[in-house]
């Protein structure tokens, strides 16, 4: 008996060492069996495991309901878990490291005397946030579920939506110390295998300390870390990820992050919102066009304004010249300076509005905007037309749906401003050319960032009716091209 205890104890100590002896491990020893009882112990981490399940489904049956003599049973762990452990996800694990890993994830390990392997019972519990509507991406008409931090729940949300048998999940562990679980999901017969291999290679190269959000992964494996443009898009909504998977993408689900990122990402995705798809096609197209127009305005309007005033005054429409000159008389700063100052002030207001508690934040933005604008006008630091241009630019930048993209575009508009101040219209032309050239040559894992296939126009500039989207977009590599037939004889 002592020997068995010792064996057990050494196992327990091993596992404790692997997990970390100073952490919240609970070791509960108990006795199994009626006549010749066996020593057993369970180990779990307090707070990660669901104690109710342990009590009810492991301890109770094993402690109270074992009415037979187990000493002669060979392969005791196999027998026990098949007969007495009333929890569905249970298996036998031979590797002590893996057993330790599973304890860290909230599972319970049963160590039986005389057993050569461990029984791992899935008792993951702990409190998580409830499934609620994602704040950042609300819709009027779509489902209001959002991903939460729990990996299993997230996987279940997706599996519920895609019941195709080809939906594959692959597990990885990332992070030296955080050892966070990463699951990639894709649909096997749509995704391009070469691309998949590339992604796999990339994941395996990650060597980082701890990963707390999926944006860390993005920053580690993206191919152009110094580029202004974001290269990966993430979403909190399962329905969004569902449609992306349908097009041949791969989704990264990280334990502890409610955002699911999808690879590869093309630029057009940053201008698509879920609302587009739940509205009717004409409305969706209209809104999309407005959004693209907003992008153009944000980048070009301040630069054109500066160019017209500073260099090419003969191009200002005659009707505006009078009022323009009247409003600009006596302004202390050059237009470039004043426009820059105004844009910066608006950036401050915007940033401030984000961080402050909501009641103050709103008041600040409104009051700040109005008062500062008015004061600046009266102090003759800016002219009213400059203020108007700055205001329009800002408002237009709010129309860009993705937050990261909006910031990128704002940065570009500053750069264009500088270029146009130096070189006038040439500056604007060079700026645009540079943007186009840069976008043309950007590739993510072999997939071009901007691609202009004719068939894809249906989803980039307008939103064609859903029943016409017969083929998958060609910008993303995939194997199975046809996704539906045109079933409406229109």
């Amino acid at each position: 008996m002592d020997e068995r205890k010792v064996i057990n104890q050494s196992n327990i100590d091993n596992i404790k060492k692997l997990i970390g002896s100073k952490s919240e491990i609970v070791v509960r020893t108990f006795i199994v069996g009626n006549k010749n009882f066996l020593e057993a112990a369970i180990m779990y981490v307090n707070g990660l495991a669901d104690v109710d399940v342990i009590d009810r489904d492991i301890l109770k049956p094993l402690m109270l309901h074992v009415a037979e003599d187990l000493t002669n049973v060979s392969n005791i762990e196999d027998y026990i878990y098949k007969k007495y452990v009333a929890v569905s996800d249970t298996y036998v694990e031979g590797d002590v490291n893996k057993a330790a890993d599973s304890i860290k994830r909230g599972k319970t390990v049963i160590i039986m005397e005389g057993a050569s392997s461990f029984i791992v019972v899935n008792t993951t519990g702990g409190t998580y946030r409830a499934i609620s509507e994602p704040h950042n991406d609300p819709t009027l008409r779509g489902p209001k579920e959002g991903f939460i931090e729990n990996l299993e729940t997230n996987i279940s949300l997706l599996s519920r939506k895609i019941k195709d048998k080809n939906l594959v999940t692959e597990k990885y562990v990332l992070g030296r110390r955080s050892q966070t679980d990463l699951v990639i999901m894709y649909i096997d017969d749509i995704v391009d295998k070469g691309f998949l291999n590339r992604i796999r290679e990339k994941i395996e190269t990650i060597d980082i300390d701890s990963i707390s959000s999926d944006s860390f992964i993005e920053q580690c494996i993206e191919e152009h870390p110094y580029s202004i443009f974001p290269q990966v898009i993430a979403s909190e909504r399962p329905d969004v990820v569902q449609s992306k998977l349908m097009e041949g993408r791969i989704a990264f689900l990280l334990d502890g992050s409610p955002f699911v990122s999808t690879y590869p990402t093309v630029m057009a995705e940053f201008f698509q919102t879920t609302e587009d798809y739940y509205e009717r096609s004409i409305i969706g197209s209209f809104i999309r066009i407005v959004r693209l127009l907003a992008v153009f305005i944000v980048i070009t309007v301040p630069s054109i304004y500066i160019t017209l005033i500073k260099f090419n005054a003969e191009l200002i429409p005659i009707e505006f010249v009078e009022s323009l000159i009247k409003s600009r008389k006596g302004i202390a700063l050059t237009p470039f300076m004043s426009l820059l100052a105004m844009q910066l002030t608006i950036e401050f207001l915007r940033e401030g509005g984000l961080r402050l508690p909501s009641k103050i934040g709103q008041t600040l933005s409104v009051v700040g905007g109005i008062i500062i604008g008015d004061a600046a006008l009266n102090a003759k630091i800016v002219s009213s037309s400059t203020l108007l241009v700055a205001g329009i630019t800002t408002v237009a930048s709010f129309a860009i749906s993705d937050y990261q993209m909006a910031i990128s575009i704002r940065i570009i508009s500053y750069l264009m401003l500088i270029m146009s101040n130096w070189l006038g219209m040439l500056g604007i032309v060079i700026g645009w050319l540079f943007i186009i050239a840069y976008l043309s040559s950007m590739n993510n894992f072999g997939v071009p960032y901007v691609s202009f296939r004719i068939g894809d126009i249906k989803d980039i500039f307008i939103r064609a009716p859903l029943w016409t989207m017969k083929n998958r977009p060609e910008g993303i590599p995939h194997k199975d091209s046809k996704r539906q037939s045109i079933f409406r004889r229109r």
């Binding site: 005033i309 005054a313 270029m419 130096w422 070189l423």
Partner: protein, 360 residues
């Protein structure tokens, strides 16, 4: 990356521009000539906006004098407190004298400068352009604005077309078989008025037509113009019709002599009717009216055609163009003299379009 920044910085050095509020905004440009012994002086008055306190806009005339047009810019800058910009002009006023002397130099300046607003309107004025520009008109910041409005809206009546911009002029001056006409304004005791059209041969003015003649010229020369035609029996009984014209010209040549047939298709709106009874109810009366109008129009045209043909020694009506299209370009024919010797026939067809609200 560094190289790029360097290059851009290098290019930046020396780049200059000028703020718009520090520019001289010309609204109108004039052109005068004075001849003293054998030297011709060009005087170019420019009327600019000056912005007063309280937001009022007034105007100011700056003069430049010189032997060449370029020199006038220099002398003018001596007077002006701001930088010169040619771009936002709305109207160009040529004095009659300079027009008769020839506008070719001027046109060259306009073509050469890309900053010019090609849609500025050109007019010829009686007397000096300077006086015209200095004239103060109530209710508008400057006389140039007023003249601009004048010419712009002149196409409502009098069969004037709005094709008096710089671009139109440039296109017509040297084109084979085409000629320029420009509105002629003068200062009367009631203000600035359009009193006729100036007829050009190439880039030189050769004559002025008064308003009655101008109406006919316009009707015969331009397409899709509007104006009023009247049949008048006496001072009480007449009928006015606001017509819109469509013009087609056919050309034939027999034994070296050209014959031009101008087909005018007029569609009219009855403005008032004190001549015919039962115009609305009786189809026959309508037909009679149409016939009468047709004859009146033809008679009016014929009255002036002979004068137009030869008095100015120019192909005023752009008929050479049709001949050229038919018989070949660049043959060296002097269309002006050919037109004088040719036969011009006018055929009018007239239809009533709408009849208004009622007949009193």
């Amino acid at each position: 990356m560094m190289v790029v920044v360097l290059i851009l910085t290098f290019s930046f050095i020396g780049a200059k521009g000028q703020m718009v509020e520090e520019l001289e905004i010309p609204i109108g440009v004039g052109f005068d000539i004075t001849k003293a012994s054998s030297i011709t002086y060009n005087k170019v008055p420019i009327i600019v906006y000056s912005f007063e306190e309280g937001g009022r806009v007034a105007s100011n005339v700056l003069m430049g004098t010189g032997l060449s047009i370029g020199e006038t810019r220099e002398t003018r800058q001596l007077e002006s407190s701001r930088k010169f910009l040619l771009g936002l002009t709305r109207i160009i006023v040529y004095s009659e004298e300079s027009a008769r002397d020839g506008l070719r130099n001027n046109l060259d300046v306009l073509v050469n400068n890309p900053e010019i607003n090609d849609r500025a309107l050109c007019v010829i004025c009686k007397g000096k352009a300077e006086d015209m520009l200095k004239y103060k008109v109530k209710g508008v910041p400057s006389s140039a604005d007023y003249i601009y409005g004048l010419v712009k809206n002149s196409d409502q009546f009098n069969f004037m077309s709005m094709q008096y911009t710089i671009m139109d002029m440039v296109v017509r001056v040297d084109a084979e078989g085409r000629n320029v006409i420009l509105p002629y304004v003068e200062i009367t005791e009631n203000g600035i008025k359009i009193t006729g059209t100036a007829i050009f041969n190439g880039a030189r003015m050769v004559g002025k037509a008064d308003i009655r003649e101008s109406r006919v010229i316009n009707l015969l020369k331009e397409d899709k113009v509007k104006g009023i035609l009247t049949i008048q029996k006496n001072s009480k009984e007449y009928i006015d019709c606001y017509v819109q014209s469509k013009r087609k010209v056919k050309c034939e040549r027999k034994d070296g002599k050209y014959k031009f047939i101008i087909n005018l298709n007029l569609k009219g709106k009855i403005v008032n009717n004190c001549l015919y009874n039962n115009l609305n109810s009786d189809v026959k009366t309508l037909k009679t009216f149409e016939e009468d109008m047709k004859k009146t129009a033809e008679k009016m045209c014929e009255e002036y055609i002979n004068k137009i043909k030869c008095e100015y020694n120019t192909d005023v009506l752009d008929l050479g163009r049709v001949a050229v299209a038919r018989y070949g370009r660049g043959t060296g024919t002097d269309w002006n003299s050919v037109i004088c010797n040719s036969i011009i026939e006018v055929k009018v067809s007239f239809k009533v379009d709408t009849e208004g609200r009622g007949d009193y």
